[in-house]
Amino acid sequence: MENQKGLFSVEVVSNVEISKGIFLLSVKRIHDFKAGQVIALTVNDGITPRLYSICSGEEDELLSILYNIVPEGELTRLMRMIKKGDTIKISTPFGNFLGTDDSAYWIAAGTGLAPFYAMFKSARTDNKYLIHGGRILESFYFQDELMKELRSRYVRCCSQQSGEGVYEGRLTNYLREKAEFPLDHKYYLCGSSEMVVQTRDILLSKNVPFENIIAEIYF
């Protein structure tokens, strides 16, 4: 049912803590969407909706989002308490950060992985590279699935812990050290504004044309 603000009530199917402080929330899918799009979400009319990237495939039965609990965050503080069967309010999917069939690098920090996971589940992946930065080893959500398909095209950068097969250091350090970036590929970035601005500057310094860099900022 749609209310005046263009939000729909939907039933929550699950809300699971998949890693410390990180939740995957799933609802019944009531709209079609394109991988990379976002929804506005809130738990009640008194709280301004916030935006979340859709983190599930275009053909999946459920629509999921991946979110982290922000200390003292007005909405995420309440979101963590949502249970199966509760209703929440979401908008129709919107936004233009869309995947394409072009050869591309997906560069994500933290929950910035979400739109790429949706693209991963929805589109061609054999010409995609994924570089994911996280603070701890637990930050690499869906790693088994991603590894299986992307293999050496999947890079994990961990800034605070070390682990097998994981680059030890910040995502930006990895990018700085990496010798070459194909200049004809597209570069999709997703994360905080700090991450996006720094990553974009590194890519530009490696001669990637700005026209090939597309960013989604979790402002």
Binding site: F94, F97, S192, E194, D201, F210, E211
Partner: protein
């Protein structure tokens, strides 16, 4: 730290005086001192009883913060740096305009945030990231503490930050600027500039009468995306639609800002598309020269191209001006000064 009174609306001041056991009308007297008179201290509020002033001073301060430095351009433009929070600075640009003889006109360009989250490719403020929201008091302090404050005729929210990412404080500051009990400025003298954050923009249009400026920079979505990440969230056609759906019958004006980048957005194709998407809008387009920032892949169009671009649009009936570039010797780029001053905050936003 004491709470600052500057930036409080009349109803907030009323709550304060009532909570202190004072009469409600005292709020109006305080507002008068804050927004209409030239004092800087609660103790100077002479029509308040001495013990009232003392009572107020226990919890509150007047709230003025003087500028930390100023750079003066040969053309009279001044760039003020105001402290805002610990080790944080914001810029305000004072732009006198002597062209209108007799009547002096001056514009102040104020900041609405310390830093910015929006990551526009061409912007220096974007590089320092987001530091903090400005309170309504900190926004108004840029005006109230300006040495030239009595000469100001126009206020534009075009400094650091995206105003609608700090909507409540921006709305409160506009309310105080325009209210009879406040600065009593006409809303026609105030312009708030956005990159197109639709939800905040709609609320602003509903709640205030000030003018709106929208940063366009390209009529093509795919191109605009690469200059302004916001395009991925709030697409230009939706921004324009939202604007069209509001009431523009009154005095309020809409303008579009267009920074001209050489070989990127300054071609015939762009003129055609601009005419197409702005068809039906009663608006003005302001063309701006790009002030290069370090390591930027972008360059400014040259003046000849800008004039050609303007003339083409004007010939088709779109009011178009090239915004005079002021203070070029001191404005390497908006945001540069404060970025230099910035002591990088310790961040745990590791990635």
């Amino acid at each position: 730290m004491k709470e600052r009174l500057l930036g409080k609306t009349l109803s907030e001041l009323e709550e304060i005086v009532i909570s202190l056991g004072l009469k409600k009308f005292v709020a109006k007297q305080i507002a008068d001192w804050l927004y209409k008179k030239n004092i800087s201290n609660i103790i100077e509020m002479r029509n308040l009883a001495k013990n009232t002033r003392e009572l107020l001073s226990e919890k509150y301060e007047f709230g003025l913060t003087a500028h930390q430095s100023v750079q003066v351009s040969i053309d009279g433009t001044k760039k003020y740096l105001f402290p805002a929070g610990k080790n944080q600075y914001i810029e305000s640009a004072y732009i006198p305009d002597e062209r209108l003889e007799g009547k002096s006109r001056a514009t102040l360009c104020v900041s609405s945030q310390v830093g910015c989250k929006m990551g526009c490719l061409f912007c220096m403020t974007a590089k320092q990231g987001f530091q903090a929201q400005l309170s309504s008091g900190e926004i108004l302090n840029q005006i109230r503490s300006l040495p030239e404050k009595d000469k100001l005729s126009n206020i534009v929210y075009m400094g650091m930050g995206e105003p609608f990412d700090n909507l409540d404080n921006v709305l409160r500051s506009v309310e105080i600027l325009t209210a009879d009990w406040g600065f009593a400025m006409s809303p026609k003298r105030i312009t708030v500039s956005t990159i197109g954050m639709i939800p905040g923009m709609i609320k602003f249009l509903e709640k205030s009468e000030a003018h709106l400026a929208v940063s366009l920079h390209s009529p093509f979505e795919e191109e605009r995306k690469k200059l302004m990440p916001i395009e991925n969230v709030y697409r230009l056609p939706k921004v324009l639609n939202a604007i069209k759906n509001m009431d523009w019958s009154g005095q309020r004006r809409i303008s579009f800002e267009y920074i001209m980048f050489k070989g990127v957005n300054d071609t015939e194709k762009h003129i055609k598309e601009l005419l197409k998407i702005l068809n039906g809008f009663k608006c003005r387009i302001n063309l701006l020269k790009f002030h290069p920032i370090p390591d930027s892949p972008l360059e400014s169009s040259d003046m000849r191209t800008m004039e050609w671009f303007r003339d083409q649009l004007k010939a088709k009936g779109v009011m178009t001006t090239i915004r005079a570039s002021r203070g070029e010797d001191i404005f390497a780029a908006c945001g540069l000064l404060s970025t230099k001053e910035l002591v990088k905050r310790k961040t745990n936003n590791d990635f």
